[in-house]
Amino acid sequence: MEGMLDDLDRPARRRVAPWVAGGIGLVLVLFVGVLATREPAQNRLTDSNLLGDVAPPIVGTTLDEDRFDLDRLRGRWVLVNFFATWCAPCRKEHPELVSFSRRHEQAGDAVVVSVAYGDEADDVRAYFDDNGGDWPVLVGDVDGVSLDYGVAGVPESYLVDPAGFVRAKVTGGVTSSGLDGILAELRGAGP
């Protein structure tokens, strides 16, 4: 009797199994497709304990052997960018930083400052020679700055307002237009 019932069930199971397998396969294909085609997350605003606080000081020697002090840039927005020459997302965002810096240099309202993270001065110099960018780059005397800012990976950027307060932390790389959007929002929100 049980054998007969099994025989009756079998065709029904045969009908359902391909649908289940097909459904699972379709979901997997969609999942892989979404992961493979989506843009990497950029301009991602991230929480930080520093938001609203006075920006930790950055004092050091730039790539051009000049002395640098973040406090001297009061009155302008400052994008403090932590990067490394060995970091692929940093290389990807670099042309965006060049574009952002060039436009805002003309307007005189914002500047970029880069801090090399776990890097050698010669590598950083070659990187800027190859990729452009004429903003201050710190490669020496900056031990502890990345810890002061709570940097957990590169690239990471912090927007410091004209009064010297940290207003945003951006991870995953930036785009020039994305930064403009964040700046516009912050300006709209007021200090």
């Binding site: 304990n49 776990g118 031990d143 502890g144 940097v151 957990a152």
Partner: protein, 153 residues
């Protein structure tokens, strides 16, 4: 008279069983003593790391490497961990306490940077709750054993 003696013998045995024999009681007492001494040493031993290097190493093992997964700054060789170890050493040399150094890192990265939670505030419950659970569990077991023994006798 013999009846009285005969009747009192099982009662005495039961009484002895209930209270436990002398060697059994001695071993329980010894175990309790060892437990208390171990707890006392664990709680009040303040003989920390002897040298600044040892102290820096011990502190780094309580700080999470911010760029790695589930590794302490003492175990990782990432640039961030190297920087954390250097910062710890510099702050020790500057005379800061362990608490001050840990507070610096949590002020920058949040409490998640600490591998061992803080002993104050809500995080302190993490340390207190297991002890409370242990005491309550032990008391509950003791009460249950006492009741079972009473029913058995």
């Amino acid at each position: 008279m013999t009846d009285v003696v005969a009747a009192s013998k099982p009662a005495a045995r039961r009484d002895r069983r209930r209270r436990g024999s002398r060697p059994a009681r001695a071993s329980w007492l010894a175990m309790a003593l060892v437990l208390l001494v171990a707890l006392g040493i664990g709680t009040f031993d303040t003989g920390g790391p002897s040298s600044p290097e040892d102290r820096a190493q011990a502190l780094a093992s309580t700080i999470r490497c911010p760029t790695c997964r589930s590794q302490s700054a003492a175990d990782s060789d990432s640039p961030a961990s190297r920087e954390i170890r250097g910062e710890i050493r510099a702050r020790i040399d500057a005379g800061q306490s362990d608490g001050e150094i840990r507070r610096y890192f949590s002020s920058r990265y949040g409490e998640a940077i600490l591998l061992t939670p803080s002993s104050s505030g809500i995080a302190g419950a993490v340390w207190v709750l297991p002890v409370v659970a242990l005491v309550l569990g032990g008391a509950g077991l003791g009460a249950a054993f006492w009741r079972w023994r009473r029913w058995a006798s």
